[in-house]
Each structure stands twice: as structure tokens, then as C-alpha cells.
């Protein structure tokens, strides 16, 4: 019983971080049909910025977090204009792979050059660095904070995309850009907005998740498969899907490691194959197609 509680709590905490980072990737894939392999690089960029802000400029945690997200969005927006815009759409996948891997390489090289290959740290404020006890289980306060923020993100995103005209117009623009334009929808602006939203979420996750996913230049590649797994299991573009997928994978991974530590990796890949076999379109496939 205790074990189950432990696995559940750790799994949810881990899953929430996966969610925050992956949902941006999912939204972009679902809406713009871009497999953005540089998503991890954007998360990492924010992590580095936050680390720099705190360690070298002495900013407080909250401010560093906000500044890092903002800066990441500002830095990546021109990329949307100059690069991504050329590769939107479902029949450009191969171009997307080439471009976003190239971009990832460049970001890794820059991170390596400016910050060196060692792991960088984002020190937690005292307020978040303790632990709380849940019965016999100790969880770091920071994780509780992450879970809370994750929940807020879910709600906010869902409202934005499913319950506003903005969301409808956005999904229309993605579905058929030429027709959306002909109906007076400014598709370019929408794409820019979604791109900013997506990188913003990556940035948020990159900073919040630095405790789990250590910040070194290879962050950019190391975790992208994991994020993609969340998107695939959840169904591209589905918020609810990302939530369920991230939590499911987080818990599975945690359970595998706890129960069969020596075969943890094996267990995870096998579970992933089974899940995708059973739900080839993800848990929450978008309506019709």
C-alpha cells in the first residue's frame, strides 16, 4: 500500500513535468503539423537563461523564471518568421526533421560554447526547497509546486483552445489555411501566437523541470524522444490526451523502475509499444479526420 502510494505520488510529479514540456510540442504538432525536434532545445535554453539569471545576476527565483520564459519566446519568435513558417503542414515532415535537428545542433553548440558542458543549476528558493510528508511518503515541496502549476496550465490551455473563438479560428487555420484566410482569419498571426505559446510552455517546463532533467547542453536531444512519446500516446494536439499520457507514462516509468529496476528501460519500451499498439492514434485522437 505504502509502495503504491509512493509510486503514485512520484509518478504524478514526474508526469506533470513531462506534461508541461510536452504539451507545447503536442499543440504545435496538432495545430501546425510540425514535429518540432528543437522543442527540447527551447526548454533547455530557458533553463540556461534562468540559471544564468539566478547564479550570475542574482535574480530571485520567480523573476528568473518569468524572465527566462519571456526571453526564450522573444529569441525564438524570429525563428518562427524565418524558418518554421516554411515547413508548416503535414507533408513537410522530412524537411521538418532536417531543419529542427539542425537548429538543435546550433543551440547545443551555442550552449556548450557559452556555458560549458557541465551541469547548470537553478537553485530553489527557500520557500520551495523543503519537503512535505504525505503519510509515510516524503515529497519535495518543489514537486508539489510543479504539480500545482501543471494543473493550472491544463485548465488554462483547455479553456483557451476549446472554449474560445480564438481556439476555433486557430484550429480552422491549421486544418485548412487557405480557406481560413478566405474567411478573414489572419493565419500568420495565429501561427505566431501558437509558436510563442508552445515555446513559452517549453520554457516553463525547462525551468521547472531542471531538478529532474539536469541542464547540460545535451538536454536538447536527450529528452526529445520522451516528449514525443507523450505526444504520440496522448494524440497530437489534444490537451487532455497530453495530461493523461504524461501521467500514465510518468507512473509507468516510475513503477517499472521501482518494481523491476534492473529491467526498467526494457519495461518502459515494451509498455510504450503495447500502448501504441492498442491506441494507434493516441488516447485522445482529435475529432474526425
Amino acid at each position: 500500500m505504502e509502495t503504491i502510494l509512493g509510486i503514485a505520488v512520484d509518478g504524478v510529479a514526474y508526469g506533470t513535468i513531462l506534461f508541461i514540456i510536452s504539451v507545447g510540442l503536442s499543440v504545435m504538432l496538432g495545430l501546425m503539423r510540425v514535429v518540432n525536434l528543437a522543442h527540447g532545445a527551447f526548454a533547455m535554453m530557458a533553463g540556461y537563461l534562468a540559471s544564468y539569471g539566478m547564479q550570475s545576476l542574482g535574480l530571485p527565483y520567480g523573476l528568473a523564471l518569468l524572465a527566462a520564459i519571456l526571453l526564450t519566446v522573444i529569441v525564438t519568435l524570429p525563428l518562427e518568421r524565418l524558418l518554421y513558417r516554411r515547413i508548416y503542414g503535414g507533408n513537410n515532415e522530412l524537411q521538418q526533421v532536417l531543419l529542427t535537428i539542425g537548429l538543435t545542433f546550433v543551440i547545443i553548440a551555442i550552449a556548450n560554447y557559452s556555458f560549458g558542458p557541465t551541469v547548470k543549476r537553478i537553485p530553489l528558493p527557500d520557500l520551495l526547497s523543503g519537503s512535505v510528508s504525505l503519510g509515510s511518503k516524503t515529497i519535495p515541496l518543489h514537486r508539489a509546486f510543479v504539480i500545482g502549476l501543471g494543473a493550472a496550465t491544463i485548465l488554462g490551455l483547455w479553456l483557451l483552445l476549446e472554449r474560445t473563438n480564438f481556439g476555433v479560428r486557430l484550429r480552422a487555420a491549421v486544418d485548412n489555411p487557405a480557406m481560413a484566410e478566405a474567411l478573414g482569419i489572419r493565419t500568420e498571426r495565429l501561427y505566431t501566437a501558437v509558436f510563442a505559446l508552445s515555446t513559452g510552455l517549453a520554457a516553463l517546463g525547462g525551468v521547472l523541470g531542471a531538478e529532474l532533467l539536469p541542464l547540460d547542453p545535451y538536454y536538447a536531444i536527450r529528452y526529445i524522444v520522451l516528449f514525443l512519446a507523450v505526444v504520440a500516446v496522448g494524440g497530437a494536439g489534444s490537451i487532455l490526451g497530453s495530461v493523461v499520457a504524461a501521467l500514465a507514462l510518468g507512473i509507468l516509468d516510475t513503477a517499472g523502475r521501482y518494481l523491476v529496476p534492473n529491467f526498467g528501460e526494457f519495461f518502459f519500451s515494451a509498455a510504450l509499444i503495447l500502448i501504441l499498439f492498442r491506441w494507434p492514434n493516441g488516447f485522445f485522437h482529435r475529432r474526425a479526420a
Binding site: V35, L98, G102, N112, V233, A236
Partner: protein, 336 residues
């Protein structure tokens, strides 16, 4: 009346584009042989690198069959390569050392793994398929890591010492035998691959790639074509893996790794998909550039490779071959 229905200019335009790519084709094989022999004499000290390029080219060629001709999106192609590499390696350590036999074993292993996994996963599409291919490769990789007695685990499988080719040609320090051996294998494999893509089966696969449902409406089972093509690609990838084992004498977990899978896609797209020779050109271009950059600046080559890839997308969207074909066409048009 019918004249109205015919749209002549558009027809001519597309027609020319198609022939542009097909006409260049017959020359590819002699060119490859020529360039291969020339390479042998021009760069006698770089045969190690050149051999790696040849084996990689074979591997990328196998990916082109799968991705370029059947539209199977995969980021786990290394699973098939690694299966061939390990099969050949394990056999070489324990049972046979004849290089040709080892290649055969690798081919069979790659094909078999492709057949089994393909039958399991090819009902999926898009990102799901992509993830399934990744997961299959990861599964095999952790299996290889776990099964240390057989595979050497993370230390790699060493102690592979293939006997001389045909009992005559020893694998030497300078890599001459390796190079010529790899060259012959690549050329033969290329010829076979070309035969396959121009067969009725190849035509049907193109159809499946463009619209699987329509193939079903013609009475074909799209999934069967996919599985068969995946198996064929797997056999070629396994051959490439075995060739790498034979020419380097070691197999590591990296031969099942994500990096190898992802790099393959990069090289193929760089060269241009669905052409076979695009695979060769992409491999040569990527590996040469990589080698030069890594040699001149081992510390920051990633930046330049990254910029290069971005540049390709911006300025040569269909890959190197597509751009050169377009250029050739423009020249040809000016000529006539």
C-alpha cells in the same frame, strides 16, 4: 473538344520533371563504380573513412527503400542495422568467420527482425509509427545491453576476426580489402535495390505510399506491401550492419541507437528521398562535411553542421539531388 480537357503546358512541365530524375539514372551505376575506383587510388590513406562512408551509404539506401519508396516514417531504422551487425558479430565470435557468410547472416537477421516487428507495428501511421519504431529499437538496445554474455553489453562485442575474403584477401591495416569489399557489396546491393524499385512490386509500393486506401480499392492489401518492403529494407539494413561488423571487427550498442537512426534520416533527406542515388549522395555529403568539420574544429563542429542542415532546408528543399536535377533541367531547357 478533347483539346480543352488536355492541359498541355502543365503536362509538359511535369513530364520533364519526371524524366529529369529517371534519365539521370542509368548513368548512376557506372559513375559509382568509377568514383569508387578513383577514390581507392586518390585517397589511399583515407580508406578507413571511405569504407565507413560506403557501409553507411548502404544503410541509408536501405532506409530509402523503406521511407522513400514505401513512405514508412521511421526513427528506429538502426534496429534493423544493429540486428544484422550483432547477428554477424555473434556468429563471427562463435561459429563462422567467412565474410560472405557473415553478410548473408546479417541480411537474414535484418530481414527477419523487420518482418516480425513490421507485421506488428505497420498498422500505425505518422507519429505513432515513428514512436513505435523508436521503441522497438530501444527495446532491442536494452536487450543487447542486458544480454552481456552474448553481446558484450555496453562494452561492445569484440574479438571478431573475419577470415580472408574468398579465402584470398586478408583484411589489412590500410583497409584496402575492406574498402574494395564494401564497394563491391554496395554496388551489387544498389543494382538489386534498383531492380526492386522498378519492379511491379516497386510500382505498387509507390501507390501505397501515395494512397493506401486506393490500393485497397484496386484489390491490394496495403499493409502487406508495407511489411514486405519493410522486410526488404530490413534485409538491406542488416546487410549494411554485417558489412560494418566485418570491416570494423566490433559491434557496439550504438549500432542500435537513436543517434544512428536519426542521422540516417538526416542523410537521406539531405540527399533526396525516393531516388536511391539520393541516399548515396546524401551519405557522402554528410559524412565528408562532418569529417572535415570535425577534423578542423573538433570542438565546435556541431554549430556548422547545424547551420548546414538549416541552409539545406532553406535553399535546397528537396535535398541535394532535387536541386541539381532542377539545375540540370534549366540548363537543358536553355540548350534546346
Amino acid at each position: 473538344m478533347r483539346g480543352d480537357l488536355m492541359r498541355l503546358p502543365a503536362f509538359l512541365e511535369n513530364h520533364r520533371a519526371r524524366w529529369g530524375s529517371v534519365l539521370g539514372e542509368p548513368a548512376v551505376l557506372p559513375l559509382m563504380i568509377g568514383a569508387g575506383i578513383l577514390g581507392y587510388f586518390l585517397f589511399p590513406e583515407d580508406l578507413g573513412l571511405l569504407t565507413r562512408i560506403l557501409t553507411m551509404a548502404l544503410y541509408i539506401l536501405s532506409l530509402d527503400l523503406v521511407l522513400g519508396y514505401a513512405g514508412i516514417a521511421t526513427l528506429g531504422h538502426a534496429a534493423l542495422f544493429g540486428a544484422g551487425a550483432y547477428a554477424a558479430g555473434i556468429m563471427a565470435v562463435h561459429i563462422v568467420q567467412d565474410p560472405l557468410l557473415l553478410l548473408l547472416i546479417g541480411t537474414l537477421a535484418g530481414g527477419l527482425v523487420a518482418l516480425i516487428t513490421g507485421a506488428l507495428i505497420l498498422h500505425a501511421h505518422g507519429l505513432t509509427l515513428l514512436m513505435l519504431t523508436i521503441a522497438v529499437a530501444q527495446l532491442l538496445q536494452s536487450l543487447a545491453n542486458k544480454w552481456r554474455e552474448l553481446t558484450g553489453g555496453s562494452d561492445g562485442l569484440s574479438g571478431i576476426d573475419p577470415s580472408p575474403v574468398l579465402g584470398l584477401f586478408r583484411f589489412d591495416l590500410y583497409g584496402r580489402t575492406s574498402y574494395l569489399f564494401a564497394l563491391v557489396v554496395l554496388i551489387v546491393a544498389y543494382a538489386i535495390a534498383r531492380r526492386i524499385v522498378r519492379s511491379p512490386f516497386g510500382l505498387a509500393c509507390r501507390g501505397v505510399k501515395e494512397d493506401p486506401l486506393r490500393i485497397a480499392a484496386l484489390g491490394g492489401n496495403p499493409r502487406r506491401y508495407l511489411v514486405v518492403m519493410y522486410t526488404v529494407g530490413g534485409a538491406f539494413a542488416g546487410l549494411a550492419g554485417a558489412l560494418t561488423t566485418v570491416t570494423t571487427g566490433i559491434v557496439g550498442l550504438d549500432s542500435l541507437g537513436f543517434t544512428l537512426s536519426a542521422e540516417a534520416v538526416v542523410m537521406l533527406v539531405l540527399g533526396g528521398t525516393g531516388r536511391l542515388y539520393g541516399a548515396i549522395i546524401g551519405t557522402v555529403a554528410f559524412m565528408t562535411i562532418h569529417h572535415i568539420l570535425a577534423a578542423t574544429d573538433p570542438f565546435h563542429w556541431m554549430l556548422f553542421i547545424g547551420l548546414f542542415l538549416i541552409g539545406i532546408v532553406l535553399f535546397a528543399p528537396g535535398g541535394i539531388t532535387a536541386v541539381s536535377e532542377k539545375l540540370a533541367q534549366r540548363l537543358a531547357r536553355r540548350g534546346t
